[in-house]
């Protein structure tokens, strides 16, 4: 095989052409190299030495010609490389049960050189994290991203009575801290997820990004006509702390997505329905659409996890009971938020309307319970278990 570099020197990429010829020449293949660039022989000899190729100079034609014999270093470097599964998750064996830590950050389907560093991704078992729906849910989420600057009618003029505005601010304050918990939890697990489970990692990441937007729009709505946010209670934070500090992925996902965000879906649609202004309605509607995906993802991977390992149901039940015990002495949903929800649903301070509002919130709480139960039944808990777990769910909703 012969390469004529013409005027191309090694300082401007000549090595690319020589490498290509050596690849084509095969093991121990011979490539002759000619060219007019200054010092080609100097560079080529030094390059061959560094790359492990043999270099000879032949001067029989009078003009000089380099002869390069391909060394074995390149083939040796890749001789123990491993294919890290396959990029398409639907191909057989594409996603392995227990990807080695040495695959590290390599994309699934890449050829990974041996000798790389060992990483320490704690979530490295397919059974614990994988869902065949993750790719679809991620794609749906990516397509449904909305821009907080343009998706909300921030410029719409409205004036609410002071106490109604205060009620909205209190609800937004409550939503912000709950959505912050919902941002922190998946973010923590993204960092622990073996990148082999790319679609799960992406679904969690976009979930965190969704929550970042929710925190933004709830804050912006609260401050639309006010300087300060409302009240943050010790009981509410205690409830969220048990969520944020849950170290087990399946348990955290169950508490957050299935029970917490599932409950929040009902809440957000309730606020949207009774919102006193278009901005409040819009932020809750957009957030609820995102939350529905989060719930779907939590349900999807937990359903697969429970099918593969039914014993995990006991762990999840214990977690709900443990959390209930831990929160037994806290107040649950703060009274200010409850009252604000009643006022929103009432629409006025007349006793009859307040009674209607109170009934509406009571109905909401019952709806939340029924929805939670339905989801628990879908996760193969029986009627009694579902009833008990739903009743024990935190009174703080999330």
């Amino acid at each position: 095989m012969h390469v004529d570099l013409e005027g191309l020197g090694f300082e401007r990429g000549g090595s690319l052409l020589v490498k290509r010829a050596l690849r084509r020449a095969g093991p121990a293949g011979i490539v002759t190299v000619t060219g007019q660039a200054a010092d080609l022989d100097v560079h080529l000899r030094a390059w061959c030495r560094a790359e492990g190729h043999e270099f000879h100079w032949r001067d029989d034609s009078g003009t000089g010609c380099a002869v390069v014999v391909r060394g074995s270093a390149f083939d040796e470097r890749w001789s123990r490389a491993e294919r890290a599964g396959s990029a398409d998750p639907f191909e057989p064996e594409a996603v392995v049960e227990h990807p080695p830590q040495r695959w590290g950050l390599a994309g699934r389907g890449a050829l990974v050189e041996s000798g790389g560093p060992e990483f320490h991704f704690m979530l490295d078992r397919k059974v614990e994290v994988w869902s065949a729906d993750a790719a679809r849910i991620y794609a749906q989420a990516a397509a449904a991203q909305w821009d907080p600057a343009t998706a909300i009618p921030w410029e719409t003029q409205f004036d609410l009575p002071r106490e109604v505005e205060d009620a909205v601010v209190q609800i937004m304050t409550y939503l912000i801290e709950n959505e912050t918990a919902a941002l922190v939890v998946p973010s923590r697990f993204v960092a622990q997820m073996h990148p082999h489970f790319r679609e799960v990692m992406q679904a969690l990441a976009i979930q965190a990004a969704d929550e970042a937007r929710h925190v933004e729009v709830f804050t912006r709505r609260a401050l639309l006509k006010n300087k300060y946010l409302g009240l943050s209670t010790a009981g509410g934070q205690a409830s969220l702390q048990t969520l944020v500090e849950e170290a087990d992925f399946a348990t955290a996902s169950f508490l957050l997505s299935v029970l917490g965000e599932g409950t929040f879906l009902s809440l957000l649609w309730f606020i949207e329905r009774h919102a006193p202004d278009p901005v409040t309605a819009a932020v809750c509607r957009l957030a609820a659409q995102d939350e529905a995906r989060h719930v779907a993802f939590g349900m999807a991977h937990l359903r697969e996890h429970i099918l593969a390992d039914p014993s995990i149901r006991g762990t999840l039940m214990d977690a709900v009971r443990r959390r209930h015990e831990a929160l037994r002495h806290t107040a649950g949903l703060n009274a200010e938020v409850f009252d604000a929800l009643v006022l929103l649903a009432a629409g006025s301070w007349s006793p009859a309307d307040i009674a209607k509002g109170y009934d509406a919130v009571s109905t909401l709480v019952e709806e939340m319970h029924n929805s939670r139960k339905k989801r628990l039944l879908k996760l193969h808990f029986n009627e009694a278990e579902a009833e008990e777990m739903s009743r024990l769910h935190t009174r703080n909703f999330m």
Binding site: E76, R77, E113
Partner: protein, 284 residues
């Protein structure tokens, strides 16, 4: 197996030397060879330590090899080069000039200013300056030498001096510069040298480092050490990162015919005599 580990000396010209020898130590120990290493700040210290019996193997620069060889001759001992890197064979040095320079050949360097590396660098100073002397241009007499001494005692392993020489050429402070062949490409790619720099001459080929032992000391351990070195495969991920750091693809048996050019250079410049005499006197 001896209770004493095989002790190797290496010169700490870069922090990576610790990573390299820690890695090799583990490799040797896992294969039953008790091994340890001692780092020296200069090759002169290391050569003296080899003759004092503080170490059994010295990872020597070509100049340190000649120092050892001459000392061995003086003291009636036998120095042997047992192994070297594939990249230690067939190096050359180049004399480079700027684009549009009025210098077209070595003869045009007469009366000019030529940049060189550290004064104990075989590749950036001793060999190219000797080469010019062979062409009829005696350094310091027929042309001025701008020496860029960096870390004397490291024998040019720290290429800072060579890089400074290249910079001096690029800035127009010198008319030519002496470099190792592979550093011409490296410095061009780093942007230290502007495009258009070219070589007006290249030296004959020569060899670089080797593992030096004396008098077949610790014969069994040295044989095992050499056997393990030569058996290292680039396909083995455990050693590949170390080989990459040390700049080789495989270890080869030592050979000494590649040191003749440097040997002539040090004779010409008489740069080993005082060191060899002083150490020999201390060893007698």
């Amino acid at each position: 197996m001896s209770a004493t580990p095989l002790l190797l000396g290496a010169v700490a010209y870069d922090p990576k030397v610790v990573t390299i020898w820690d890695g090799f130590q583990q490799y040797f120990e896992e294969r039953g060879l008790r091994f340890d290493y001692i780092l020296y700040t200069t090759y002169e210290r290391q050569v003296e330590a080899l003759f004092a019996g503080h170490i059994h193997v010295a990872w020597n620069s070509p100049l340190a090899w000649l120092q050892s060889q001459r000392l061995a001759g003086r003291l009636g001992r036998r120095a042997e080069a047992i192994a070297m890197r594939d990249t230690d064979r067939d190096l050359s040095s180049v004399i480079i000039i700027r684009e549009n320079s009025s210098i077209h050949s070595v003869a045009d360097l007469k009366g000019r200013r030529v940049a060189a590396g550290a004064k104990d660098s075989p590749q950036a100073t001793l060999i190219p300056l000797y080469f010019l002397a062979q062409q009829g241009l005696e350094p310091h007499r027929d042309f001025e030498v701008a020496m860029f001494d960096r870390m004397l005692g490291k024998h040019g392993d720290h290429i800072g001096g060579e890089r400074d020489a290249a910079r001096a050429l690029a800035r127009g402070e010198c008319d030519a510069a002496c470099l190792l062949d592979s550093n011409l490409l490296l410095f061009t790619q780093e942007g230290v040298l502007p495009p258009g720099i070219r070589a007006i001459a290249k030296t004959p080929l020569y060899d670089h480092c080797n593992f030096t032992v004396l008098d077949n000391n610790m014969g069994d351990e040295v044989r095992r050490f050499r056997e393990l070195l030569l058996g290292m495969a680039y396909s083995d991920p455990q050693v590949r990162r170390l080989l990459d750091l040390e700049g080789l693809k495989r270890w080869l048996p030592g050979r000494t015919q590649g040191y003749e050019l440097l040997s002539s250079a040090v004779e010409h410049f008489r740069c080993l005599d005082s060191f060899v005499a002083a150490v020999a006197a201390r060893c007698m």
